[in-house]
């Protein structure tokens, strides 16, 4: 929000008056002032335009390169190393569906519970709660490939020993996006005014009844938006999956706990690495598929935010 929106009519007038007085005494600013008041915003606008151009270029170039290979059979055909015309993303799409299904099943309960504890139950003066809080902030900044190492050492191998299966990739990616969900859910809980809680408690509801009956429903749209954005991030995530086995070449639909799997982004990566041009076109077609899915997901998030957002 800019200053204009905070400014009331009275302060606006006072400022304008003071400014006019000063100007009449000091004189109408130097020439340099007039130049800087034009050149500076123009230079800033150039920055905005550069960022927008980059976005348009990435999407436009992917469309241009992938268009020739775009067809419905792309979604069902199995990958191939020899025949790019019949190759597709079928098993990879199923792999992504499995991985993301697992991610949603894990991050919704864990993320909401952790946010509920930190925002509603925890006493922030206790050292262990401060440790948890700092820890989550740090975890949000750990590179995704490091989560891949955790997945490789302790989920694929080590204590969990799941092997290179979709479930291992799913748990790894879930841990990666969990801090995002926790931070977004806390934000949503914080936007519910305290009077709602006090009213509920005053009527004799217990803490949990207040949470379940009042606070969580009120925070639900915000929490859902956070979950959806985390899922969108998880869909495009490839780095940790490289370490948990998602680059296996599979020509069959995967099983959650058994056998190799692949996902859309890792399949795109392996197609792009082939020397033949037709496979690279295929990779860009995969990018288009992924962008369409992400666009749909983001639209749902924006719709949800606009439809259910409440101002108290």
């Amino acid at each position: 929000m800019s200053d204009q929106e905070y400014r009331t009519e009275r302060t606006r007038l006072a400022v304008a008056g003071a400014r006019a007085t000063t100007k009449s005494i000091v004189g109408d600013g130097a020439r340099a002032d007039r130049v800087s008041s034009f050149v500076f915003p123009a230079a800033l606008l150039l920055g905005v335009v550069t960022a927008l151009t980059a976005l348009v270029a990435i999407i436009g170039y992917s469309l241009y390169r992938g268009w020739p290979a775009l067809r419905w059979s792309l979604l069902t055909n199995v990958p191939s190393t020899v025949n790019p015309d019949n190759a597709g993303f079928g098993p990879a799409i199923w792999g992504t569906v499995y991985v993301i299904g697992g991610v949603i099943a894990l991050i919704v309960p864990l993320g909401v519970a952790a946010a509920l504890y930190l925002e509603e139950y925890a006493n922030p003066t206790k050292w262990w709660n401060r440790v948890i809080e700092l820890n989550i902030q740090n975890l949000a900044g750990v590179p995704s490939i490091v989560f891949g190492i955790l997945g490789l050492a302790y989920i694929v191998r080590g204590p969990l020993s799941l092997g290179f299966v979709a479930a291992a990739g799913s748990i790894t990616v879930a841990l990666l996006v969990l801090p995002t969900v926790i931070l977004a859910s806390r934000e949503a809980l914080r936007s519910v005014p305290p009077s709602i809680r006090e009213g509920s408690m005053a009527l004799g509801a217990t803490k949990w009844q207040t949470m379940r009956g009042q606070v969580l429903p009120a925070a639900l749209p915000g929490i859902l938006t956070g979950v959806i954005l985390a899922v969108a991030r998880a869909i495009g995530e490839a780095a940790p999956l490289l370490l948990t086995g998602a680059v296996t070449f599979v020509t069959f639909n995967p099983n959650f706990f058994d056998g190799g799997y692949s996902t859309l982004p890792t399949m795109i990566y392996s197609y792009a690495g082939r020397p033949q041009d037709a496979f690279r076109t295929l990779a860009f077609a995969g990018v288009i598929v992924m962008l369409i899915v992400l666009f749909a997901i983001n639209s749902v998030a924006i719709w949800l935010r606009n439809r259910y957002e409440r101002t108290w």
């Binding site: 800033l44 976005l55 370490l243």
Partner: protein, 318 residues
């Protein structure tokens, strides 16, 4: 807990019932404990990451001397005559960070200033979500864009540079820079928005122009937030994997500062090494963890720094 009142004022009527719960509410306790455990999970994950990284290290440093790892200038762990000097891939990582920041600081910061100080509310309402879309573009897509579009474009624009082969660490860095622009823009524009309006009003009242209010008042006031944004973005750039894996290539094992050539980074090494089939328990396998530890320490230090700057900013204005 606030919902139970345990004691009743003395001297009340004999019939007066307590307002407290008739029996202990075990359900409430169970819920509180289980959501506490969910919060503790994050600490468990961090501990897991540290343990996963550190456990193979004693074995690794038994074979590779610690000093050779940190100061050696040849990184060729899987060669017949292996060498474990980590400097070439550290330099590759720092080069990506450097080129990413060269792009992201001017573009991100000017977008942030424009959106928070100059843009009309309508313009901001449209452009801000669009910039967020840029952040959501899958990194694989950005990597392909860098490799197939930006790299040939760079050769056309700067034909006098000694371009060689399809990879370039400089181009990869620029692409990572595009990726972190929204992060720089959103964190620093939050910081500028948090600067109290009264500071601006005061300067305007004294006859300052919009330019001098922005440069002399808002930017210095939001400085620690802006620094935090840049440090966070640098940390993201260091940890970015897919773009450098696709556009910067495997690189040569020797130390190189040439941005036109393919150079490996720490993340690309880990990603590339893990996709190849290597036996567990070998020194080559352990390099993943040694390099991962170094990467983790780099980003941890930067995140702590960013958190400190954000806190300092909050303390002043909130």
């Amino acid at each position: 807990m606030a919902s139970t009142i345990d004691s009743v004022a003395p001297g009340g009527g004999a019939q007066r019932r307590t307002l407290g719960a008739a029996r202990p509410r075990y359900g409430e306790k169970i819920i509180e404990t289980s959501i506490f455990l969910a919060a503790v999970l994050s600490v468990v994950v961090t501990t897991g990451i540290v343990l996963a990284l550190v456990t193979p290290l004693p074995e690794f440093f038994r074979v590779v001397p610690f000093g050779e790892f940190l100061t050696g200038t040849v990184w060729a762990p899987a060669f017949a005559n292996p060498s474990f000097g980590v400097l070439p891939i550290v330099v590759g990582t720092l080069m990506v960070m450097f080129f990413a920041l060269i792009v992201a600081i001017p573009v991100g910061l000017s977008s942030a200033i424009y959106l928070s100080e100059y843009a009309s509310p309508r313009f901001r309402k449209v452009v801000k979500p669009v910039l967020e879309v840029l952040e959501g573009i899958p990194t694989v897509a950005t990597g392909l864009f860098a490799f197939f579009f930006l790299r040939p474009l760079a050769e056309q624009l700067l034909p006098f540079l000694p371009w060689q082969g399809p990879f370039s660490i400089g181009v990869a860095g620029v692409a990572v820079g595009l990726l972190i622009v929204p992060l720089v823009a959103s964190v620093s524009s939050d910081a500028m928005r948090a600067v109290p309006a009264a500071l601006r009003e005061g300067a305007y009242g004294l006859g300052a122009t919009k330019f001098s209010v922005t440069v002399r008042v808002v930017l210095p006031a939001a400085l620690s937030g802006i620094v935090a944004a840049i440090v966070l973005a640098a940390s993201r750039a260091i940890g970015e994997t897919m773009v450098v894996l696709i556009a910067a290539g495997a690189g040569n094992p020797n130390l190189s500062f040439d941005p036109t050539k393919g150079v490996q980074t720490m993340t690309a090494y880990i990603g590339g090494r893990a996709t190849g089939d290597i036996a567990q328990g070998t020194v080559v396998y352990d390099t993943i963890f040694a390099v991962g530890t170094l990467l983790f320490l780099f980003t941890l230090a930067m995140n702590m720094l960013a958190i400190k700057f954000v806190r300092r900013f909050r303390e002043v204005y909130e």
